[in-house]
Amino acid sequence: MTVEIPVEKWSGKVIEVALGATAEEGGTRTHAVTVGGQTTLPFLHFEGAIPYPPRIAIEISDQRPGDWSPLLLEAWGDVVKDPAAWAKAAEEAGAELILLQLSLTKDGDTPVTVADAQAVTRQVLDATGLPLIVFGPGQVDADNELLVAVAEEASGERLLLGICEEKNYRTIVAAALAHNHLVTARTAMDVNLAKQLNILISDMGLPLNRIVMDPTSAALGYGMEYGYSVMERLRIAALQGDKMTQLPMLVTVGYEAWRQKESKVGVGVPEAWGEWEERAILWETLTTTTLIESGADIVIMRHPEAVRRARVFIDRLMGK
């Protein structure tokens, strides 16, 4: 007896979004990285098209991150003091995209200036040919000030600028419009909120193929399944033809996985938790692979070994 595999015919398709501009496109990247384009749920290759694999971005910082786990700092070594060197190391570790995280202050004291932000962006652009994601420090005024300057400095590079939120998106979107960049739109784990922010941003005139949505993720053990379910629902809505959900999704898994006790704390935890470093790497890897299964198009990671493992996972799922 033959088993007939049911095939769902979806009417919708995820929008293709290309990050980074090559010389022909007015930028300096060696190649662009495209995400989206799916006409089926994650990895159901028999059912529809999945033209691009999930992309791994590695997070680097404009200065040695003060709040990172010593395990991460150790894994990267000296490069954490030099964004350009770090970007190169990240590329070697398997990154397809680089996230440059801007800080609020230098050495926890003087504010990072517009000139600082522009300089570090330039250094990273010069150091690697990968498309670049740039996140502001996460404070409204600083985000707006620094990201506008970065957008100007890297005009035409099709950077992915973030993070737009419902209460603060206008300035960042305007900068992206003016200098041919893209934006990420972050909402708090809710299908409707995600749609609303996408509508607000596209209302300003930014085409949908320049928006990536960040539905907010959580780490394994910290509400990951809630985020998973929201991402799954967003993707199903997209495939059902709901236009404002048809954007690729980005998740900051490295940030989420590395702020939890299981990855942060090495001493004074139950023995059953096992060896610290392995546990921490597993935490990031599992968070990443799970959210990839729920439809993540871009995963922003931190540890090179977790990146390596996620890569193996992606390759297998893509049938390589």
Binding site: E166, K167, R170, D190, V191, N192, L193, K195, Q196, L197, I199, L200, D203, M244
Partner: protein, 639 residues
């Protein structure tokens, strides 16, 4: 126990109270009414008084800044007496006593052909055989004998109240007496007749009764002559309980403290007695000649009316003490009508779908319409929603909050003189023009004005679809205010208060929540029965506030479903009208009960789709624009 003296100015009244007494309580003992719109929870700051001499113990509150405290301000509902003090009460914002000026009560038509025999109240005049030494039958037996002989009435019941006056009435009327009786009442079918009152002589010219609606905000009395069935006088006023809390939750909280329950009952009975007197005066009768009262109101209001603790209504799992109160004589609660008059409170369905809604459904005529899907909405502080075609009915209550009644909005106010009731924003200049009730200088913005303002700010781009005010516009009307971005509706030199009248981002947020709660209620109800809101044939809008809603603007902000305008009908106060109909005919009274039994109640707090629908509705007009086809066309045409 240590006691201290509290002297109140400018009244110059001194009371002596035990240590730890609340200033508000001391004021009450001094006979001074300090308003506590939030129910004495320290949330609203409206009961602030100034401590002139001595000191009080203050509890921390966000309502008073350190500067306020420095000049002696204290919240009467929070501060307690710890030594002798002199307290000055600043002039408080008086509750407007007039509900919308220049609006005469419309004449009420008979809702259906009326026959006085369809209702249980009767008036008969009988002349008794004169007593003599040969016929020493007692007065009561003599009356019974005559009622049996003339009207075949047996086993007639009488109360002590009536017997106490019987002897005098019989003699004053020279043995002709008019008897008011209730026969075959809905709750005592085929039961014996009950005498409600006796009057000397023949007094058959009228038969008075009243229909009452106890709203959280307004109370309404209709005086009805049951001989012809017509409404002969109307009276309306704000519920006196407002001074103890604006919404039902504040009142429930107030009722649960000390003698709060009795205080709230007293306040509503006082209001009703005043209204009954006012209506009776209009017809030149004493209110004691009102022999029956049918009451509608939400469940909390009816509990307070009967002095039954409403506490369980706000606690999980949100149930009332009683949905159908038994009938009782008016004297039991001090209602100033005939002491033995039957008070009949209509049945509610649940804590937040009360008798006002069962009455509303009856009076909306929902059940007389063709097989069409009807949405009945009563918009007040709570939005109650009923969906059905009368072979089935399903209802829910959504807490819209008092934002559209002017509370929780910086310059919000009720629809009285001085309220901006309509606003237009110019799409090019962002200038505002408005219309004020009474044509005077504006003091604030009422619900209809707020809906119009929200719609125009959205349509003209003063704010985005999430309600974020755009500070980048080339106009001085948008600015960064004390509490974030705001839009100036009227400049200080145009206003009656001498202050700019503004709407803030926080106000917009509150209004968005209110409208989203209402619309999410629609969506959840429709979805629960496998329909969409746009399957609705007719939208019936009840509630006093409903009358003033501009449908077009309410659709623009996504508060009402996007149906053609001719599908909307405004019914005014459907609650009092339902009580009136129940008064006129037993059949209607039975139908109210049937509606109550037939209606399914959907508890939104137990429904896991409500949050989703609410979030989807927290957008202008809605996250799913396809639900608003006319707005979609408009917005896409504009873009």
């Amino acid at each position: 126990m240590t006691t201290y003296k509290v002297r109140f100015l400018p009244q110059d009244v001194t009371v002596e109270v035990p240590e730890g007494t609340l200033l508000g309580e001391a004021a009450r003992l001094a006979g001074i009414d300090v308003q506590m719109p939030c129910g004495g929870q320290g949330r609203c700051g409206r009961c602030a008084v100034i401590v002139k001499e001595g000191n009080v113990h203050r509890r921390p509150t966000q309502r008073l800044s350190p500067d306020d405290v420095a000049i002696g301000l204290a919240l009467a509902c929070q501060a307690t007496v710890v030594e002798d003090v002199v307290v000055s009460i600043p002039p408080q914002e008086k509750i407007e006593r007039k509900i919308r000026e220049g609006k005469r009560a419309a004449r009420v038509e008979l809702p259906f052909p009326y026959d006085s025999h369809d209702q249980p109240l009767r008036k008969v005049a009988v002349t008794l055989d004169l007593p003599s030494l040969h016929d020493q039958t007692d007065d009561w037996s003599r009356l019974q004998r005559e009622l049996a002989r003339r009207y075949a009435m047996r086993d007639v019941e009488v109360s002590l109240t009536v017997l106490r006056k019987l002897g005098r009435v019989l003699r004053d009327g020279e043995w002709t007496v008019t008897v008011v009786l209730e026969t075959d009442a809905w709750d005592r079918p085929n039961g014996p007749p009950r005498i409600i009152d006796v009057l000397p002589g023949e007094r058959l010219e009228n038969l008075w009764a009243a229909a009452i609606d106890i709203g959280t905000t307004s109370n309404v009395v209709w005086l009805v002559d049951l001989l012809g069935g017509r409404v002969m006088a109307q009276a309306v006023d704000y519920n006196g309980q407002i001074a103890r809390g604006e919404d039902v939750i504040s009142r429930i909280i107030y009722a649960s403290k000390g003698d709060g329950l009795q205080d709230l009952q007293r306040l509503v009975i006082e209001t009703l007695n005043r209204l009954l007197q006012q209506a009776a005066d209009e017809r030149n009768i004493p209110p004691e000649e009102i022999y029956k009262v049918v009451v509608a109101g939400n469940s909390t209001m009816l509990h307070l009316f009967a002095a039954i603790s409403p506490e369980p209504i706000r606690l999980m799992p949100f149930i009332t003490t009683v949905n159908q109160l038994p009938t009782f004589p008016a004297r039991e609660i001090g209602l100033r009508v005939c002491p033995e008059a039957t008070v009949d409170c209509l049945p509610g369905i649940a804590s937040y779908v009360g008798a006002d809604i069962t009455a509303g459904v009856i009076s909306s005529g929902m059940c007389n319409m063709a097989q069409e899907l009807i949405l009945f909405v009563d918009i007040g502080t709570n939005g109650e929603i009923v969906l059905g075609d009368c072979s089935w009915l399903i209802s829910c209550a959504c807490s819209a909050g008092p934002a559209f009644e002017g509370a929780g909005v910086v310059h919000g106010m009720r629809a009285t003189a001085g309220a901006i009731e309509e606003v237009w924003v110019n799409a090019e200049t962002y200038e505002a023009t408005y219309r004020v009730i009474g044509g005077e200088k504006p003091r604030g913005i009422c619900g209809s004005g707020l809906i119009g303002l929200l719609a125009d700010m959205f349509i003209t781009g003063v704010m985005d679809k999430s309600g974020n005010i755009n500070l980048n516009l080339p106009t001085k009307r948008v600015r960064q205010g004390e509490h974030g971005p705001e839009y100036v509706v009227a400049w200080a030199d145009e206003s009656a208060t001498g202050e700019d009248i503004v709407i803030t981002g926080v106000d917009v947020d509150n209004l968005m929540r209110a409208k989203a709660a209402v619309y999410a209620g629609f969506s959840v109800l429709a979805r629960s029965v496998g329909l969409t809101i746009n399957d609705v044939g007719q939208v019936l809008i009840g509630g006093a506030f409903g009358q003033y809603i501009n449908v077009e603007k309410a659709i623009q902000i996504g508060m009402l479903p996007d149906r053609p305008y001719d599908r909307f009908q405004f019914l005014g106060n459907t609650s009092v009208r339902g009580a009136y109909m129940a008064l006129l005919a037993r059949e209607m009274r039975h139908r109210v009960t049937e509606v109550g039994q037939m209606m399914t109640y959907l508890e939104l707090s137990a429904d896991n789709t409500f949050f989703d629908e609410f979030n989807a509705a927290m957008f202008l007009p809605h996250t799913d624009l396809d639900q608003f086809p006319s707005m979609k066309e408009f917005l896409e045409g504009a873009g």
